[in-house]
């Protein structure tokens, strides 16, 4: 906090504050509502990872990928560039970049807890990503597609997913305190 007041006193532009949660939640809800009205479905993210993974797998091992019961249909559907979710994911990158840039919040860093080294952070990030990638395929969606979008349609599926997500988040966070505290 002292660094903050110093930089303000010197008039240097620090990062502008994040939006209050209520305002950011309303903005996110309106973005979701607009998406429903334009596309007929909600927002997502892991669907892009699936198409990218199928594409990577197809380039490395085309025969095995075509024969795979899960990836086969994705490869047949064609390039990931033909999928709505790919352009939505590209849009997320652009939107986050523009927002962060306009508010002085671009922060090139390996963000981590105070007790974790860079290389440990990379290991945790990769393992966490792998669990998430696997879990999203199992659940048929992620926090965006099932939790947020499913929840907004009051789908039972969305709330079952969110219950699992929050319970496991708390349990793993308690068991692995040192990662972020």
């Amino acid at each position: 906090m002292t660094a903050h007041s110093h930089s303000q006193a010197r008039g240097r532009a620090g990062p502008r504050p994040f939006w209050p949660p209520l305002a950011a939640g309303i903005a996110l809800g309106l973005a979701l509502l607009v998406t429903f009205l334009i596309s007929g479905h909600g927002l997502g993210a892991s669907g892009f990872v699936t198409r990218l993974a199928a594409d990577v797998s197809d380039r490395v091992a085309p025969a095995a990928t075509a024969a795979n019961a899960y990836f086969g249909p994705f490869v047949q559907a064609g390039s990931p560039l033909a999928a709505w979710i790919t352009w939505e994911a590209v849009g997320v990158l652009i939107g986050a970049y523009l927002g962060a840039r306009s508010a002085g919040r671009i922060s090139v860093q390996v963000e981590r807890g105070p007790n974790v080294s860079r290389s440990q952070r990379f290991v945790y990030a990769f393992i966490g990503g792998a669990l998430t990638g696997f879990g999203a395929r199992l659940a048929r969606g992620c926090t965006s597609g099932l939790g947020l979008s499913g929840g907004a349609t009051l789908a039972v599926a969305g709330f079952v997913f969110l219950a699992g997500f929050f319970i496991a988040g708390f349990v793993v966070s308690m068991a692995m305190r040192r990662v972020w505290q």
Binding site: V90, L93, T132, V156
Partner: protein, 215 residues
């Protein structure tokens, strides 16, 4: 022309994505410390923002249906596969607590400069490939305990939609009040100053180390 437009084109995807990414970053969801602060109870932004967004969109869809702008069953509603969705939710919750992101927020993290988000993303691609490799033996679990098609809380409980929305508003309001108390008691929530200044903790360590040397 009827609404929804069912437009699955490039421009439709880009527009939705830009709005989504902008809102995630504005909420602070490009930062894994802010995101995981939810589970250490230091920062309730994840609960507050998600719950607010779900309610804004749910009430919006309800109002648009009541006023006849959109028809019943005109938007996609996922169908429950209980074990796969509960299990997948558990894995994503664990991956979030460990890795600091979920799929959408990892893109917001990457867009606002986080290098660790790129590693998380590579992990997701690897996890997806592993899933595809073991998909066939998992099929039974993947399809187990299927619920009715597109089942909603109104179908499950028999309660009117307005009442369910009202209950959720009350739960959200309670979460805002309780969460606000809990996060302040733990010195939170994380601000942009806290998480957008690169390697703040490294700078402190260097300073402490320097002071120790001087002493």
């Amino acid at each position: 022309m009827s609404i929804p437009f069912y437009d699955s084109g490039l421009a439709s995807g880009l527009l939705s994505g830009v709005l989504f990414g902008f809102a995630l970053e504005a909420a602070g969801f490009g930062s894994p410390r802010k995101l995981t602060g939810q589970f250490t109870l230091k920062d309730f932004a994840v609960f507050k923002v998600m719950f607010t967004a779900v309610l804004v969109a749910a009430i919006g869809l309800y109002a648009l249906r009541l006023s006849g702008v959109i028809a019943d069953n005109s938007v996609y509603i996922p169908t429950l596969f209980f074990w796969a969705m509960a299990g997948g939710g558990v894995l994503i919750g664990a991956g979030f607590a460990l890795g600091g992101y979920c799929p959408g927020t990892s893109l917001a993290g990457l867009g606002s400069g986080r290098i660790d988000a790129l590693v998380f993303f590579a992990g997701m691609v690897a996890g997806t490939i592993v899933f595809a490799a073991v998909f066939e033996p998992l099929t039974g679990f993947y399809l187990a305990a299927k619920g009715p098609d597109a089942q909603r809380l109104t179908d499950l409980t028999g309660l009117p939609e307005w009442l369910i929305l009202a209950v959720l508003v009350v739960v959200a309001a309670g979460g805002f009040v309780l969460g606000g108390k809990l996060e302040r008691a733990r010195g939170g929530p994380f601000t942009a100053e806290d998480v957008c200044t690169p390697q703040a903790e490294d700078t402190e360590k260097v300073q402490r180390h320097g002071q120790a040397l001087e002493a």
